[in-house]
Amino acid sequence: MSEPLLRVENLSKAFGKVVTANGLNFELKAGELTSIIGPNGAGKSTLINVLSGSLSADGGRIFFEGQDITQLPIHRRVQRGLCRSFQVVNVFPHLSVFQNVEIPVLAVARRAHHFFRPVGGEAEVADMVRAVLERVGLAGQAQTPASALSHGDQRLLEVGIALAARPKLLFLDEPTAGMNPVERVDILQNIRRLSASGETTFVIVEHDMDVVFSLSDRVMVLHRGGLICDGPPDHVKGDGQVRECYLGEEVR
Amino acid sequence: LGAGVLKPTGLWAAPAKVKGPVKIGYQAIMSGTLAGYGEFHKMGVDMAVDEINKKGGIAGAKVVVEYRDSTLKAPEAIKNARYFVDSWGADFLGGVDSSGQALALAPVMKQLGKPIIITHAATEKLNEIEVFQKGIKEVFRISSPTYQDGNAAAFVAKDLPAMKWATISPKYEYGYTCWSMFKNTLAKLKPGVQFVAESWAPFGTTDFRAHINTILDAKPDGLYSVEWAGELISMMKQAGQAGLFNKIKHVMLPVGAAMDVLEGLGKEMPDNIWISGRYFFQYPKDKRNTAWVASFVKRWKHYPAYVSETGYSSIYAFKQAVEAAGSKDAKKVIAALEGMKMQSPAGERVFRKQDHQAVYTVPWGLTAADPKYPFKVMGKMVVIPAQDFFNRPPFKGPESMPPFKK
């Protein structure tokens, strides 16, 4: 069996008495679109924070492509291909859409340290940026400052920035928060497509169950820091415990 | 006043008239905690200018003075000097409180080619190195240098029954230099003295309690301190509260006779403290000084501070030099200033030819109350002739330093 993309061993994290990760063990396979769901406060964001390096783990180890990355700083993880987006919009507000995407592209292309050559002269980089903008559908607004985008477009940009780093594994924390249902389906279809292209493996956190169940290959359910259910959507949908503590009697 | 009446006739008769106003650019500290010094400078200078202009100016030409705030920072001093000479068209410059500024100005004055008379900054390096060694002719100093604070103090101290000395002094060159001069000279004058403690207070210290403790721990017989201005006031008050003057009987303050200090401390200045300065209004007790002090008090409702006197006399020094040279040409005036002897409220001054340092005598005295004044003045006075304790050219080796063989 080939090495999984990400392997987590005994991961734990607590804030005082609040346990947000309680000895988690799981693996993520390349190309598998995984959703993480769970009640509010279950520890989903915290898990992403720990895996992506925003927070340090209290215990346990994280392996990415077989290598231990538990202690690596954020940018190293990103350079290896592990990236994330944020639950709240988190872009460069005063930079243009183009520049927003240009920064991660420069980093990937290892051009970020060129301090004397005009950035406009990096033709290759510009092409890559345009490609990303095409993919998320923001090509028409390349010169708009990010702060002037509508909320939905900012979310798209958010995903675009994350994609621009060419991650192998990308965590999306509620990528559709605050979007209207149509845009929501749109962007998730988009993700589905990108996932299918195989370049990037997506892990998303979502509260819209219609979307989660129709889209994902695999669903993981977190509750009080523990993994209470893990499997294909249908399996999870039918799980009693999940119904009780998360879904409620009927799927809305 | 008699001299004043006689002078104009001589003036109209002898020297050739100098063209245009004589412009003097004067800089001193006029902002921040030491701004009071700037005020005192100006009182003296304004008085001299008004007097001179009333009596027909310098060789017939009006004197004009422009002031600038020196801020104690070297680049500002340089900018001011350049402004005075290159933009305003000053013939001569005066002022400067900080040693660092005076040293930084020396090469600039050489470049600008105009004479300056320093009226406060005390570093001996100015005359010994910049003027004597490097030959910068443009710099003169009318106020007494660190010799007064270090060497002269030692001459006074040698007659006191104190064998163990300590210091609280400013944590910068001035403090270090004075203390080491004091130590060196006193050790030569009085073998066997000990120097038991030193405590250095950074610029702007307001709380001397820790320093005072350091001194009390060492149990010296004498305390020597070249703290000055507001810091000296704070130190004296806090020392009094800590009972220092009960335990240490001999206290020497080389710049304690500054008016801001005496007025600031008022009755809180203890009796029997040794004080001195660059000038003290009670000395010399001659007619010229008495009249000057009276007119100063009348005009400003203040007794003249030492910088008032040095500022005042610096203007007269230029006047005398211009009149002697018959021109305000820098080279000629410099030549006239070199070795020039002048009468001033502080007594007779001679600008030594080699190092351009004015040699004159300032008294040391013991503080005492006097009903005539709302502050302490000098009771017993000791006068050590300046020639006995000023370092001498060539400023190298022990022969240049006091005590000198007769």
């Binding site: 804030f15 924070n49 925003s54 927070l55 | 006029m30 902002s31 921040g32 905690t33 030491l34 701004a35 009071g36 700037g38 005020e39 005192f40 030193e198 405590s199 250095w200 950074p202 702007g204 210290t205 307001t206 709380d207 309690r209 820790a210 320093h211 403790n213 350091t214 009390l216 721990d217 201005a229 507001g230 006031i233 704070s234 004296m236 008050k237 806090q238 509260q241 800590a242 009972g243 801001d260 007025e263 600031g264 401390l265 008022g266 809180e268």
Partner: protein, 291 residues
């Protein structure tokens, strides 16, 4: 030896408490308004000058001067906040610094113009002008008084902010002005009030400084403001508890430094500041911020 040690401690304590008195207002204003107020030193200076000039009109009653003098400074603080600072809260932090710095320049020179450039020796305080003998050495009663006042002020402020509703409202408004106003807080008025209160603390510090330092000079605020900054910083900016502890540490450190390591006393202070900032930037009492 013991005598010396105790007196070095006492000197450190009084210095620390004295800095604390000034730093408290600075910390409060930073904590609530988020403004690093350079002009705080000026308020301190103005407090000293107003107290001093009232003295001669109040029959040299220091206490009356101490009560009335700072009120004038509050008026100044009010004008500064209401007509100037209020308009720059929303722009870059450096502009706020710059604005308060402009006031430093203005007040320093104004004091010079109004009260004269020279330093003024202060009168002593009836009842506290003497000294008490502690272990054979005299210690000024006034310094003892300062050592007592410091903790009292600290206690009062702590109670005010932690234990009263006014305090909680202030903390809420300081973290989110808009939301507080939506809940019914008159935020601009509250901020003015806090600023004026902080000003008052600084001015009282100035009033208390007159007999402590022994003199008044234009620009006297500059030397204290840096100490106050250091204290506010190592305590964790905005934390009053931290500032209090910071003041104690700086006071003692500088006192012992002066006594035992005289060459490097300034160096010591700043190295301590750097270590604290690197090790616990949120100050002694700050919590670890996770996100």
């Amino acid at each position: 030896m013991l005598e010396s040690f105790v007196h070095v401690c006492l000197a450190g304590l009084s210095k620390g408490m004295f800095i604390w008195l000034v730093a408290s207002g600075l910390t409060l204003i930073f904590g609530v308004l988020g403004v690093l107020n350079f002009a705080h030193g000026s308020f301190y200076m103005l407090g000293a000058y107003f107290c001093f000039s009232l003295l001669s009109h109040l029959g040299h009653n220091f206490w009356l001067g101490l009560i009335l003098g700072p009120l004038f400074v509050c008026l100044v603080g009010y004008v500064v906040e209401r007509y100037f600072l209020r308009y720059v809260y929303h722009i870059d932090l450096p502009y706020q610094l710059l604005l308060t710095f402009a006031f430093v320049l203005i007040f320093d020179d104004l004091v010079k113009v109004v009260w004269g450039a020279g330093s003024i020796g202060s009168p002593s305080v009836a009842g506290l002008s003497g000294s008490v003998r502690i272990l054979g050495r005299l210690f000024p009663s006034y310094s003892l008084f300062i050592i007592l006042v410091g903790p009292l002020v600290a206690l009062g402020l702590w109670g005010l902010l932690e234990k009263t509703w006014a305090g909680r409202i202030i903390r809420a408004a300081s973290s989110d002005r808009e939301m507080a106003s939506a809940l019914g807080v008159r935020v601009p008025a509250l901020f003015t009030a806090v600023f004026v209160f902080g000003t008052w603390l600084g001015a009282v510090g100035g009033g208390l400084a007159v007999p402590y330092v022994g003199l008044l000079t234009p620009g006297m605020g500059e030397s204290i403001i840096i100490d106050a900054f250091v204290v506010a910083v190592i305590g964790g900016l905005g934390s009053l508890k931290g500032a209090f502890l910071g003041a104690l540490i700086i006071g003692l450190l500088s006192s012992f430094g002066t006594r035992f390591l005289p060459t490097f006393d300034m160096f010591l202070t700043f190295i301590l500041m750097a270590i604290v900032l690197l090790w616990r930037p949120q100050g002694f009492f700050g919590e670890e911020a996770a996100r």
